[in-house]
């Protein structure tokens, strides 16, 4: 019987390096998430999702044969996805803008930079719990709302019924 209401949370760690997987599992345990399953790449992650539907996913970016971006896209858009709304934290040392944008556009919820620190992991988890984001569905994207901050000089493109010049948030 779980002693806390959040202890039933099930996290999935998708990471090709066994040491990093173990590290993430230990950190999640220490933070109170006791149910953690593991997968070594995106394909294995999708299989694991079908066995134990996770409430939260932490995934690496660079993995073979299926990387974190393709995995995230599958989770968000596949008709067989057990939970397309699951929060996905991408754990990555890649800071190149095109890669980060690709991951964001695949539907990643949060990024956790390597090296992993306790404070950063706590901040990402708290963000997911405290400020869940609406989802956006359109022809080219399904995932968490990518607009997070206001840009007063934003001039479009206007894609939403409620877009106005005065009040728009863009990430």
């Amino acid at each position: 019987m779980p002693s806390s209401a959040y202890e039933h949370l099930h996290a999935l760690v998708v990471e090709d390096n066994v040491h990093m997987r173990t590290l993430l599992r230990s950190l999640l345990h220490a933070l109170g998430i006791k149910n953690v399953s593991e997968a070594a790449d995106g394909d294995a992650g999708l299989r694991e999702m079908r066995n134990h539907t996770p409430d939260l996913i932490l995934t690496d970016l660079s993995m073979m044969p299926t990387d974190g971006i393709a995995f995230t896209r599958q989770v968000r858009t596949s008709q067989n996805s057990p939970n397309p709304y699951v929060p996905i934290i991408m754990v990555t040392g890649h800071t190149e803008r095109p890669l980060v944008e690709s991951a964001r556009d695949a539907g990643v919820t949060e990024f956790l930079a390597k090296p992993i620190t306790v404070n950063n992991l706590i901040a990402r988890l708290a963000e997911i719990v405290e400020r869940p984001r609406p989802f956006v569905k359109c022809e080219t994207y399904f995932g968490p709302d990518r607009r997070r901050r206001k840009m007063k000089d934003f001039t479009g493109p206007w894609r939403r019924h409620d877009d106005t010049a005065e009040e728009v948030e863009v990430r």
């Binding site: 209401a5 040491h19 173990t22 390597k114 984001r133």
Partner: protein, 168 residues
Amino acid sequence: MVKPDTPNAKIIGVDQYPPLLDEAASAEFLTQLSLRDTSKRANSALETKRAQISMAVRGYIEAMEKAFHAKDIKATIAQAHEIRGLAANAGLEAVGRIADGLYKYLDSMLRLEAPIDAAVISLHINAIARASSTASEAKAHGERVAEELSALVAHKLQQINQLKTKPA
């Protein structure tokens, strides 16, 4: 400001999909995350793993040296990938940066199908071996070397890109 004629984005509000936790559990989890004891426990877990990760990184470094001497570029790049992802969590930041530079160089060369300069690999591997020393002097030296090698890789990639984009 003109609004679109046919906006096509459908917004699914946070109350329209299953929450991660209900309100009470969310509050409890956030409290748990904010406790000093929680972060202390997690930092202790991180510290416990540090020694294991450090040993693993040293193993990858050895494997990378062997792969390079065997002229196995794919194995070299695979080890560089492991090192760049792990080294900083073992406190070997310079090692991680140098391995990241080596990975980017090899990955770019392979994607561009450009000839790989063995001297560039050799410089990186030697620098990684030196920077993996625990001596603080070596650490500082490693950071300087990481910067110099990063500049070298940038220069090499620029050269290759110029050659590739030059009109025939």
